[in-house]
């Protein structure tokens, strides 16, 4: 094993420009991959935030009797599209108002519970149901009006929020996968070209090794280690730069996302997320390195 590392090291030192080119190409791939992974996580967190937080408030008419409220609550609870239904009485609504205006007690002193309508708050299992569900609730005789609490990217209405989320999810999932696949294939091809040049320049050595009884594994090993070095170095640098960019953009992102916890707020959770991304990228890099080098040397290893 040691001698293969030594040989791989010699190959790298001897052609530093090729080595640099390989690392840079892989760096670009994994830099983008890091950003996409964090965006994917943020998009997932955002969706979860909207899914788990009460998003819809159905304000009830003041003349509605408790039986009607109970009936509507039951029908919502039985609806598979609806989660976490909660009844908020006029008094509770006043408490919420007092909490929200605690910095200005005068505002709460002027109001009584009668001003606030009772309401049913609930969240939606999947945001794609939101529009139709809200329309269904709005036409209930007990409901005065329905409000949607989400706000994202400046959109205050439900259509805008859902459209934003859909677009973000779509871009990250589909676009991200396409970009990542394209960059991965490009990296693989660059690795393949660089290692093919390496193998071609050492063709005589490969032939000689075969003639003295080296196994294909023995011949392949230094080239595989070399490719893994490029891939791991490139992916590590890509990860570092990606993380730095994300951390640098945090204040702007925080403003854009508002209350949404798009990245873990605890440092340990954040480190786990970044660590998981690094581990996945290193694994992908190793796979790319192994495939690239194996393909490059394959044609010279015909016995």
């Amino acid at each position: 094993m040691g001698q293969h590392f030594k040989t791989a090291g010699k190959h790298i030192r001897r052609s530093p420009y090729q080595a640099f080119a390989a690392v840079v190409i892989i760096f670009i791939t994994f830099f983008v991959a890091t950003l996409l992974a964090i965006l994917a996580y943020a998009s997932y967190s955002t969706l979860r935030y909207f899914e788990t937080k009460p998003q819809v408030i159905a304000f009830l008419k003041s003349e509605v009797v408790p039986d009607d409220i109970a009936r509507l609550q039951k029908s919502l609870e039985e609806d598979p599209r609806v989660r976490d239904v909660r009844y908020v009485s006029k008094e509770q609504a006043l408490e919420i108002y007092k909490d929200a205006t605690s910095d200005n007690p005068l505002l709460s002193e002027l109001v009584s519970p009668k001003v606030f309508p009772a309401s049913l708050e609930f969240s939606i299992a999947d945001l794609s149901f939101a529009e139709e569900l809200i329309k269904e609730v709005e036409i209930q005789g007990t409901v005065d009006q329905v409000a949607f609490t989400a706000s994202l990217g400046g959109s205050k209405n439900i259509g805008g929020v859902i459209e934003n989320l859909r677009q973000i999810s779509h871009y990250i999932r589909t676009g991200g996968l396409v970009i990542l696949a394209f960059l991965s294939v490009s990296s693989l091809l660059i690795l393949l070209v660089i290692l093919s040049m390496r193998v071609a320049s050492r063709k005589q050595e490969v032939e000689m090794l075969q003639l003295i009884g080296a196994t294909p594994g023995f011949i392949r090993a230094p080239f595989i280690f070399e490719a893994i070095f490029y891939a791991v170095a490139g992916s590590f640098l890509g990860w570092i730069f990606g993380i730095l960019i994300v951390l640098y953009s945090m204040p702007f992102l925080a403003r854009y996302f508002g209350d949404v916890t798009f990245l873990p707020s605890e440092v340990s959770q954040l480190l786990i997320l970044f660590g998981a991304i690094l581990a996945a990228e290193i694994l992908l890099a190793i796979i790319l390195g192994i495939i690239g080098s194996s393909l490059a040397i394959r044609r010279y290893l015909k016995i």
Partner: protein, 224 residues
């Protein structure tokens, strides 16, 4: 040790060897002679299992090497020492490391230090072990190749025009070293068209012409 039974090898329409039959005993030194294109190198390549015959069998210690699986070929080749006209030394390794490579390949690595030093002493290169091939003369490079061929104590040495790039005096030194290996019990097949070498050593000569054995004489003479 080595037996050819009606061996034929074709490359497309060209017949490189045709119905070659011969037997070589253990410890025998045999010259394979003939003009360029007579099939000498093809014969050695067949023995190295670089290529397979279209017809016939090649038996090494009674085993037909055509039946070897791909995974068995490297292990078969470790029993053979090879000497090339163009040396095939690794420029970025010292004399010692070039010889050591054979031991690394067979998994002996560091434990083979004594064998490597013995092989270098045998070819008179113990003092030059730390030099790189470019720092050596042609004869010294070929002696390095010979040390590499001898270090694993092979049963068979295949030498393909080992004196082709050497001056007559150096060529004689190299052949004398190969002959010494044969005297120690190693079977040697040496392809050459150097008549001086063949005639001075008086060993068995198998002469090929257009892929056929035209003569096979113990202590034969060869005329280019």
């Amino acid at each position: 040790m080595v037996k050819f039974e009606q061996v034929t090898k074709k490359f497309g329409q060209i017949t490189a060897l045709e119905n070659v039959s011969s037997e070589i005993k253990k410890g025998e030194f045999v010259f394979i002679t003939g003009p360029s294109g007579s099939g000498k190198t093809t014969l050695l390549r067949l023995l190295l299992r670089e290529i397979s015959p279209n017809k016939g069998k090649i038996l090494i210690e009674g085993k037909d090497i055509s039946t070897l699986r791909s995974s068995e070929i490297p292990f078969y080749r470790r029993k053979i020492g090879v000497v090339f006209q163009d040396f095939k030394l690794l420029a970025d390794r010292t004399v010692y490391e070039n010889v050591e490579l054979v031991m690394e390949v067979s998994g002996e690595g560091q434990s083979a230090k004594r064998k490597i030093n013995d092989a270098l002493k045998q070819v008179g290169l113990a003092e030059r072990a730390n030099l790189f091939p470019r720092q050596l003369a042609g004869g010294e490079q070929q002696r390095t190749v010979l040390a590499r061929a001898l270090v694993a104590q092979p049963k068979l040495i295949l030498a393909d025009e080992p004196t082709g790039n050497l001056d007559p005096a150096t060529a004689r030194q190299i052949v004398s070293l190969i002959d010494q290996a044969a005297k120690n019990g190693t079977t040697v097949l040496m392809a050459t068209h150097n008549a001086d070498i063949v005639n001075s050593l008086k060993r068995r000569v198998i002469q090929l012409k257009q892929g056929k054995v035209v003569s096979d004489k113990a202590s034969g003479k060869y005329q280019e």
